[in-house]
């Protein structure tokens, strides 16, 4: 094995040691990237660093991130979101897990509006995590539901992952969007089933609102309250989704309708004043920047992994795979999963997919089906501890009382559900291929 590839392995090892030692994520990425990159290829390649960073901060498709975060903060600061979850909890009556179901629904709807990693996790985390923990939800379960629902946006179209995969795999974006619809909804369905099951086997983790409190409201009170509180956020989601479907805005810019709408809503509810606006502006600034900080500091790491020839490690491993086509699919899934432990998904797609493409093309398998398998797998990698984007993004906005360990524990069952969904798509390819074939895309 060449010296540089050994360095690449050491870099990954050092990254994990620093990460577990409690060094902030961004610093781990930046320091190991520069140190091992310098040892491997000297200073020259690092002159590319500014170009990579400039590329991140001017990447048009990331616009949805600050826009959705702004919307989330505005909803939080104006306490619209808090009221919303409360009323939904009340309306669900004795049903345990009601508020978690509401979060899954919000995840699906926001997922249908956006496809940027982190946008939904951060937004829903901001507005929902604190309130449902206050309502007695187990912090781990609450975190798991939010992370998993937040990453649904990666598989429910439109999605950045699917757009990139379409590019790499030579499929049309429309075909992949159509192929992803049922698998995405099926995954959401599995989440719902799990939450309902949890309500039966572990009621303390997902409590309903106490009977005494529910009794304070008559049905009419509740219906009125529901209408008053649920309507505004529904309008926001309708603005975002509707502007995409109605041809008013392209997917990325549609997020601005939600953000702008949230200001208008806060103003209409009479809760907007300069202090609230200023606080919201500052909080949104901090939250967006913390997401960008990680994306920016991932650049030295990604560059070093490339420069050290890290993709050769992957290539060599691939050369030794036994077991024909299914063996190779299995290996690809395993590889994506493992790479997801330490690389961001764009880097993974670029490293792993070109290796496998020739094999899949010559096998005659449906590429849309493979793309959906890959997309679901990448989505899982957002959730896998210790390095999962969704986990970091949620940690960034979680109340200080929520620990990383709780988040890790909370996502594990959802990773299991993802694996089940993935197997279903694998054994029943029609889940992915039926819709695009039927509508002729």
């Amino acid at each position: 094995m060449p010296y540089t590839e050994i360095l690449a392995l050491c870099m990954i090892g050092a990254f994990f040691v620093l990460l577990l030692g409690g060094i902030p994520v961004a610093v781990c990425l930046g320091v190991t990237g520069f140190a091992f990159g310098y040892a491997g290829f000297g200073p020259m390649l690092f002159t590319l660093m500014p170009a990579r960073i400039f590329g991140v901060v001017t990447n048009y498709t990331l616009l949805a991130l600050p826009l959705f975060i702004f919307m989330g903060i505005m909803l939080e600061k104006s306490r619209i979101a808090e009221d919303l979850l409360e009323v939904i909890g009340l309306a669900m009556g004795g049903l345990r897990g009601g508020m978690a179901l509401a979060i899954i629904l919000v995840g699906v709807l926001m997922g249908a509006a956006s496809g940027v990693v982190g946008a939904t996790v951060v937004t829903v985390g901001l507005i929902a995590l604190g309130p449902i923990i206050n309502r007695g939800y187990d912090a781990g379960v609450a975190s798991g539901v939010i992370c998993a629902s937040g990453t649904l946006g990666q598989i429910i179209p439109p999605s950045l992952v699917l757009i990139l995969l379409a590019d790499i795999m030579g499929e049309s974006v429309g075909t992949l969007f159509a192929a992803a619809l049922f698998p995405g909804l099926m995954l959401a369905g599995l989440f719902v089933a799990y939450v309902l099951l949890l309500g039966v086997i572990n009621p303390k983790a997902v409590p309903a609102i106490p009977q005494a409190e529910r009794a304070q409201y008559t049905r009419r009170d509740l219906a009125l309250k529901l209408f008053k509180v649920v309507l505004p956020p529904l309008v926001l989601i309708f603005l975002v989704l509707g502007s995409i479907i109605g041809g008013v805005a392209a997917p990325t810019e549609a997020a601005s309708m939600g953000a702008f709408g949230s200001i208008v809503l806060a103003a209409l509810s009479g809760r907007l004043n300069f202090t609230i606006l200023r606080d919201a502006v500052r909080a949104a600034f901090v939250t967006s920047a913390m997401v960008f900080l990680i994306l920016i500091f991932a650049q030295p790491f990604g560059l070093a992994f490339r420069g050290l020839g890290g993709e050769h490690l992957v290539q060599t491993a691939f050369g030794n795979v036994p077991g024909g086509f299914n063996g190779q699919i299995f290996f690809l899934m395993l590889l994506l999963f493992v790479l997801g432990f330490f690389l961001e998904w764009i880097e993974i797609s670029y490293i792993a997919l070109p290796l496998f493409l020739p094999v899949f093309l010559s096998s005659g398998a449906d590429m849309a089906w493979i793309a959906i398998l890959v997309a679901m797998n990448l989505q899982t990698s957002f959730l896998t501890p210790p390095f999962g984007w969704a986990l970091f993004f949620l940690k960034g906005v979680a109340p200080p009382s929520v620990t990383t360990a709780q988040i890790y524990r909370g996502v594990l069952p959802f990773i299991g559900l993802q694996v089940i969904a993935l197997s279903l798509v694998f054994f029943f390819p029609g889940l992915a291929t039926w819709l695009p074939e039927t509508i002729g895309w």
Binding site: A51, R52, V173, G174, A249, A250, Y350, L353
Partner: protein
């Protein structure tokens, strides 16, 4: 004998046919050079995003961090306005004319003259040939239809359309389809039948117009760091030049063959209505283009010099084509 390990970045994403993969593509160029030099010049290829973002190749090559980049020179219009002429000019030259100008009528000399002060050297390494006007949700019958039309169209052509009332929308490649499908934009320009079908544009709009007045041909640029280029021994330089020239021919003929088949498929199986823009519309586009080009030349002396050479050759070549090629097409 010294051997060289170089890096080439690319403005296009992994897997793109013609721009990254396939006969005469940049990755094919790397393979050709390695084979022809018996491994003495190895070039490792990085698609957009792998090492640097799509449009950062110019600076990367200039700084010497990578030796080569594959792109189109008109991406550098914000850095060197004259560079646009080495990709395509609206109502300019087709594949034959463009290469005649570059190789034999002073085009390459002007390109060298433009790039040398920045320590760069370029060669043509591919050509899409004539492109399509683009996809429209509604038919175009007169220039009045352009008024208020929302279109995804970058570059000089965007400026021309804008003067006819088109609302120019900038969108990344992946968002063209959803935006066109939902009617956020009414029209979009991409490349040609083979590439456009791959993006699924036929599912978003049915009217597919020619001709590519805005891009009568489109040159793929091989950009090199000049010191790196000069460090190559004469035989390797010759190999690079020859491989680039081979790719120029091979990529273009590949496009011709595949576009023919793809257009047939789009029309026969996908319900696409392929048509030529009405001649009075084209005439008006030409008038506006002439104005836009001469305005551009007036604003930048380096561009003016290239513009004059290009237009002089175009007049000469056009007179020849009128008696040679043109009658042949109407047979």
């Amino acid at each position: 004998q010294t051997s060289f390990n170089w890096k080439m970045t690319n403005a296009y994403g992994p897997g793109s046919p013609f721009y990254v993969e396939g006969p005469g593509s940049p990755t094919d160029f790397c393979k050709k050079v390695e084979a022809m030099s018996d491994g003495r010049l190895k070039i490792q290829h990085f698609a957009a995003g792998e090492l640097i973002p799509a449009l950062e190749g110019f600076d990367a090559v200039r700084s010497g961090a990578v030796e080569m980049n594959a792109a189109n020179a008109y991406f550098w219009a914000g850095k060197l306005p004259a560079a646009q002429y080495f990709t395509t000019v609206p109502f300019g030259l087709n594949f034959q004319g463009m290469n005649a100008w570059l190789y034999h009528a002073g085009g390459m000399d002007l390109w060298d003259e433009l790039y040398a002060p920045l320590g760069l050297k370029a060669l043509p390494m591919g050509n899409t040939g004539v492109q399509m006007t683009g996809w429209f949700r509604d038919p175009i019958t007169s220039t009045a239809d352009f008024d208020g039309l929302k279109m995804r169209i970058p570059g000089l052509a965007g400026k021309v359309y804008a003067q006819l009332g088109v609302d120019v929308k900038l969108l990344p490649g992946g968002e063209i389809f959803p935006a066109l499908e939902r009617g956020v934009i009414d029209a979009a320009e991409f490349v040609g039948p083979y590439q456009d079908r791959r993006l699924g544009l036929q599912n978003a709009a049915k009217y597919y117009y020619s001709t590519g007045w805005h891009e009568p041909s489109n040159v793929t640029e091989l950009l090199m760091n000049q010191s790196a280029w000069e460090s190559l021994p004469a035989d390797l330089q010759e190999i690079v030049k020859t491989a680039a020239m081979a790719c120029n021919l091979e990529s273009h003929t590949w496009c011709e063959a595949n576009n023919a088949a793809a257009l047939k498929d789009l029309v026969e199986n996908e319900g696409v209505i392929a048509d030529v823009l009405p001649s009075d519309v084209v005439a008006e586009l030409k008038a506006v283009t002439d104005q836009v080009l001469s305005d551009g030349a007036a604003a930048d002396p380096a561009l003016a010099k290239v513009h004059e050479s290009f237009m002089a050759f175009k007049a000469e070549h056009g007179a020849w084509a009128a008696v040679s090629e043109k009658p042949l097409y109407s047979l």
